[in-house]
């Protein structure tokens, strides 16, 4: 196994009962690499993302994070490692309505049990980078869709993860906001040395990635 890969999947298969979602998927994500996976709705892109993060167990195959197999590990160990490895951005931002913007940003640090005095400054710096200065105390329910997605994007950066997994992050935004959010995600990954795995319908965004895959007919194919 090549240790250059932060995440590596080998011959992974996922079925739900008799239904095959994908089979023999082998691919990896290197440090600072940007990867896209395209596919039709229902092709299994989100399931693949869940399997990569071990939110869902594969039916067959091997998964390595930082060169270590994570299959059959204790869930508490996997959960801890997940918080260090991955930062998630979802189509629906999934911000916690009971918390304000800064509290939402600090929440991944709380889950990782690593919150310290420098985190607030870091969160403010990230807010500045996505042009949301002064939004710290804002209630998230008062933010627009684009603003929420930008907050969700920088929340994913808070634990300085190795890989940002963005599952259709611009799916619910208009084109202008989508472009803005997409550029910000790419810039953030570039600034903080994170790899990016982008799940998208949008071929234009997919083309911005260094490596592109298509998931179709249960098979993941690299697009040259």
């Amino acid at each position: 196994m090549n240790d250059d890969y932060i995440v590596k999947l080998g011959n992974v298969r996922k079925t739900f009962g008799d239904f095959m979602v994908f089979d023999d998927v082998s691919f990896g994500i290197k440090r600072r690499e940007t990867v896209s996976i395209c596919g039709d709705s229902g092709s299994g892109k989100t399931t693949l993302v869940n399997v990569i993060g071990l939110l869902e167990q594969p039916t067959h195959g091997r998964i390595f994070w930082n060169g270590k197999s994570v299959i059959n590990q204790k869930m508490s160990y996997v959960a801890k490692l997940r918080s260090e490895m991955f930062g998630y951005i979802f189509q629906r931002c999934n911000l916690i309505l009971e918390l304000n913007v800064i509290e939402n940003l600090l929440f991944p640090r709380r889950i990782a049990d690593k919150i310290d005095s420098g985190d607030v400054a870091f969160a403010k710096k990230l807010l500045n980078q996505v042009k949301l200065d002064g939004f710290e105390e804002r209630n998230v329910s008062t933010l627009s869709g684009g603003e929420r997605q930008r907050v969700a994007a920088i929340r994913a950066m808070m634990n300085n993860p190795r890989v940002i997994i963005a599952d259709e992050p611009t799916g619910s935004l208009d084109e202008k906001s989508a472009n803005l959010v997409m550029d910000m995600i790419i810039n953030l990954c570039d600034t903080y040395d994170s790899s990016l795995l982008l799940i998208t319908h949008n071929p234009r965004f997919a083309q911005k990635m260094q490596t592109a895959y298509v998931l179709s007919n249960c098979t993941l194919t690299r697009v040259e």
Binding site: E56, I96, E98, N100, E103, D113
Partner: protein, 405 residues
Amino acid sequence: MKWYVYLALKQLFPTGKRISFFAAMSIVGVALGVVVLFVVQSVMEGFQYNIKKMIVDTQGDVRVDSKHMIFDVDKLEDFLRNFPGVAAVARYAYGMMMLKYDDRTGFPTIKGVDIENEAKVIDLRKFIKQGNLENFNCGGIVLNDEMARSVGATVGSSVEVFSPKIVEETSSGEIILQRTFDVSAIYETGYQNVAMIAIDTLQDLYGLGEGVHGFSLRLVPGVMPEKVAFELNKDLPKEIVAMSWQEMNKGLMFALQTEKAMMSLVLMFVLLIAAFSIAGSLLASVIRKTREIGLFSALGGTVWQCAMCFVLQGAIIGIIGSFIGIIVGMVTLKFRNIIMVGFLRLCGVEDFMMKFYSFANMPSRYGKGDVLTLVAFAVFLCCLAGVLPALKVAKINPAEALRNE
């Protein structure tokens, strides 16, 4: 602070709001349950305490009784007086007699007492409402207020007493007149229908000679009556038995305890209803926040930590609700008499209640133990209310939760 504790607090007390609607309603529900339970238990305990105190005050701590008459009175009295833990001893004899005043009659138990020693065992002056004991040994009788009311006697009235011995001797041909007593005092204990006369007069009326029925004992403060009774029974002759006030009144004590327990059991349903409403609201919250639960897993939390968040919400509601409930309960108890009088006045039954239930002062009594038990029970129920939604959370597959729309 662990993230699930932080989140549990934030879900109840969100940033920008003081409290969530769910938290407010749940806390009020628990607090009301605790108030009702606390107030009723305290009032019941107050009644119980008053009754116990009344029993001890009127009967003494320990009684030494015999199935037959005791004739070796002085020797036994000395023995009891010198027994460790005993502060005072008073002999007594009693019997039922007919009491007549004008054309009204009553049938009290008449207790013959040595008034000087009796006063050391029982603080008679505390119960006397009218009159005094000055002329007690000169043909005086002390009546219970109920008996005085029923025959219409007051202090200074001359009442006639007929003993069974008089009736017996009259039927054998002798004509013996009834005894006349002047009412020296009227006392009120609330539950005893006992009149008191000098012991030598009663012995004469009943033909007891020098015999007595038993002795009342007052113990040194802090000495356990059960223990003294137990020790006495080791040394007393078989036919003479020492009994603590608890043992003598165990039927009444059991009834009072049972009444309190049953009342508490019924009122616990108020708390159960509050707990069910919390469980329902938390279950609805689990369904509403399914995606959030998926997010917590994606961010590195485990499902059990997510589940803990809901148990903690129940616990926090329980703790705050109980705390508020106890405070409100204490305030209610402090102003209980004003509240009660106001309520009775509103219902137009103030005089009725005062007359028949002597409710001028509603008793109340609670200790740290009562408060802690109630709080622990309420918190336990609320935690249980959080367990049901937590179990549902534990079954959630994070990936499915994230797909949930």
